[in-house]
């Protein structure tokens, strides 16, 4: 980290600028993403009014875009917390400008992903029947159902991620509190819980963040494993697979990093944070992405090879529909998006630039959405008894809902950058200080700066 680029005195103004100054671009972004969200809400309203039949679902394809979006967004959510937690636990110093960005992705993606199990219900207004609460109707959830595991896992993860986002945010909230006036000052005063910056507070904060980082990693792994078990626990062809847990977790981290890279690139550009989010971050994340791409390919290959080699009638039907049948165009698009193009871009150092990694990430996000779709729909459309094979075509309602999730995500992110510094100010400063010390005082294990 070359401190020449950043003057400590400028950090506050640089990083708090987006919070206090609003450009026209921000309003445009909010308007566009907000209207997407409104359209999706309209579509959902229509769905509530008419019934879920306004979707393209049918027998046998009872899940499609809904659960695809669910798995996709839960996957994206792994960007964050998991990456930030792993980097924190391993003490990767270059993480400092990245963590908040990633943690915010987690919370928002998780909020969006967690909506779908509710949105997709035949009777969405009864979603709370999944919660164990005392009632007089004899209702009680069935803990054996993977959906209940989802319910507990996602709630734990959402709560944990929120806390994990919030804890390191407290000192920065205090910072904004001190700069703000009037009502804003009051709100931030409450939000910052009276943070003063005593050394006890700092020490407890760092301790708590450390503990939280350790806890959140297994939770994140469990969440996506459980999401994968929604499928793997069934006895459906190409769902009933033991590697689904790690396969999904790897895919989740894969798409999560890709989303993070894209988010970082946008923030860097829009808020002129070139001095904070530097090529080195993209390079490092690009290398991580490369690893995940290889890992994803390995898992995919292993998964499909076993189906192919097993040559079991029911599995083979699904396998062939993906490789050479109705779903082949989507399948090969997925392979191209997730591996064929990104892998060389990320592997060749010259191409691993900011624009290179962003391009690869964009493809990967698309490819991973397709992957989820291709896990869900081909299996469902080709049940064991071939007489019941079917097909699926989305309606405008599902497409609008899907587009709306992206709008919602952008909107949440835009609002977040408006309210909170998107780069952790104190962490960045701490990093600079530690780097300063690295020059004078020996504290090497705390200063492993990757690639710097």
């Amino acid at each position: 980290m070359s401190k020449e680029d950043v003057l400590k005195s400028n950090i506050n103004s640089d990083l708090l600028r987006p919070v206090f100054k609003t450009g026209i671009g921000w309003y445009i972004t909010v308007a566009i993403s907000g209207s997407l969200l409104l359209a999706a809400m309209g579509a959902f309203g229509y769905q509530l009014y008419s019934g879920i039949g306004v979707w393209g679902l049918n027998r046998p394809v009872m899940w499609a875009f809904d659960i695809t979006n669910f798995v996709f967004w839960i996957g994206i959510s792994h960007a964050g917390t998991l990456i930030s937690a792993i980097l924190r636990v391993t003490g990767a110093e270059w993480r400092r400008p990245v963590t908040r960005c990633a943690e915010a992705i987690t919370v928002f993606a998780l909020m969006i992903g967690a909506m779908f199990p509710i949105v997709h219900l035949g009777r969405p207004y009864l979603f709370y029947w999944l919660a164990p609460y005392p009632n007089s109707r004899g209702l009680w959830p069935n803990y054996r159902s993977p959906l209940l595991w989802d319910f507990f896992a996602i709630n734990t993860y959402l709560l944990g991620s929120l806390i994990y986002l919030y804890l390191p945010l407290i000192p920065d909230l205090a910072l904004v509190r001190d700069k703000a006036k009037g009502l804003r000052h009051k709100i931030y005063s409450i939000a910052s819980l009276g943070w003063r910056g005593t050394q006890v507070q700092w020490s407890r904060l760092e301790k708590a963040v450390g503990v939280m980082a350790v806890i959140i990693i297994p939770v994140a792994v469990s969440v996506h494993t459980i999401v994968s078990w929604d499928f793997a626990m069934t006895i459906r062809p190409m769902w009933h697979s033991t590697i689904f847990g790690p396969y999904f977790v790897a895919g989740a981290i894969f798409s999560g990093i890709a989303a993070l890279i894209m988010a970082m690139a946008v923030i860097r550009k829009v808020f002129h944070l070139e001095a904070y989010l530097k090529p080195i971050h993209f390079n490092n994340l690009g290398l991580l992405l490369l690893t995940m791409s290889l890992l994803w390919f390995y898992f995919t290959f292993a998964e499909y090879l076993t189906s192919y080699y097993g040559n079991e009638r029911v599995e083979k039907a699904v396998f062939q529909s993906k490789i050479s049948g109705a779903y082949a165009p989507l399948f090969w698009a997925m392979v191209v998006c997730c591996f064929v193009i990104p892998m060389p871009i990320l592997a060749i150092k010259k191409l691993r630039t900011i624009s290179g990694t962003v391009a690869a990430s964009a493809l990967i996000v698309v490819g991973m959405w397709l992957e989820r779709f291709l896990i869900i729909v081909p299996t469902l459309s080709q049940p064991a008894l071939p007489f019941n094979w079917g097909s699926y075509r989305p309606t405008w309602v599902e497409i609008t809902l899907t587009a709306g999730t992206f709008g919602y995500f952008v909107l949440l992110y835009a609002v977040f950058t408006k309210l909170f510094p998107i780069v952790a100010v104190w962490e960045f400063k701490e990093g600079l200080t530690l780097a300063d010390h690295a020059g004078s005082v020996a504290e090497p294990q705390r200063l492993v700066a990757h690639g710097d």
């Binding site: 008419s50 019934g51 679902l57 049918n58 009777r123 209702l139 959830p141 069935n142 069934t234």
Partner: protein
């Protein structure tokens, strides 16, 4: 680990003789009439929304001119180890003491998970509200609830007829016996291909037939232990 508790109640089961079945589909309409199954209409039917609790599957074997056709009526197999049951998050689908896979429509929130985990694809979802133009609604069976949108439904083995048969036997102070209960499909079957009864009673016809050399169960290898036994064609 808990062990399964054996029930002393009748255990309902069905035997379908594929050698007798002609594929006439009388059972399908009988089921529609008895169980208030919706008329989907052309558009929804084209979108895969038609509902047939029992269907006659057709499979071709061979090439022209040496081609043969297999008909196979498939309804809920009422598995003893039903894959649909554990995945329901709200116990809307459950196992009864009589070995039926029950479905409580009012509990169902509509996750459709049970349908996705059913290897026999016999579960049907109510994507939209049913339409019963007047006076067609008068033909609805008052003993069977009409399912509205958002809930899963499937074959019940005509639970309402089972209850009636059991009540009658109880009134007469005797055990249930063959012929007391016949689901609508079995009742209508034009070639008498279907037999229904209490498989726990070793003297019943279903118990006898299910031990036949021609007997097998659909996708037994999955370990679902279906309560529907098929008797194969041929000698």
């Amino acid at each position: 680990m808990e062990e399964k508790v054996e029930s002393k109640k009748p255990q309902w089961a069905m035997v379908i003789d594929l050698d007798r079945c002609t594929g006439c589909e009388a059972c399908v309409v009988a089921c529609h009439a008895e169980n208030n199954i919706r008329i989907a209409g052309e558009g929804p039917a084209a979108g895969g929304r038609s509902v047939n609790w029992i269907r006659v599957e057709r499979y071709y074997e061979g090439e022209y001119p040496d081609i043969r056709v297999k008909f196979m009526p498939v309804m809920c197999q009422h598995c003893e180890e039903a894959p649909c049951e554990p995945v329901c998050p709200v116990y809307a689908t459950y196992h009864t003491d009589e070995g039926l896979n029950g479905q409580v429509y009012n509990r169902c929130v509509g996750t459709r998970y049970c349908a996705n985990n059913c290897p026999y694809t016999v579960r049907f979802f109510n994507f939209l509200d049913p339409v019963w133009p007047e006076p067609l609604s008068k033909s609805l069976n008052p003993e069977v609830s009409v399912r509205y949108r958002g809930v899963m439904e499937k074959c019940t083995f005509c639970i309402q007829r089972i209850r009636k048969g059991e009540d009658k036997a109880k009134d007469e102070g005797r055990e249930i016996r063959d012929g007391d209960v016949n689901p609508a499909c079995v009742q209508s079957c034009t070639a008498r291909a279907m037999t229904f009864g209490n498989i726990a009673d070793p003297t019943s016809e279903v118990a006898r037939l299910s031990k036949s050399g021609r007997a097998s169960r659909l996708m037994e290898e999955l370990g679902t232990k279906p309560r529907v036994t098929y008797l194969s064609r041929g000698d």
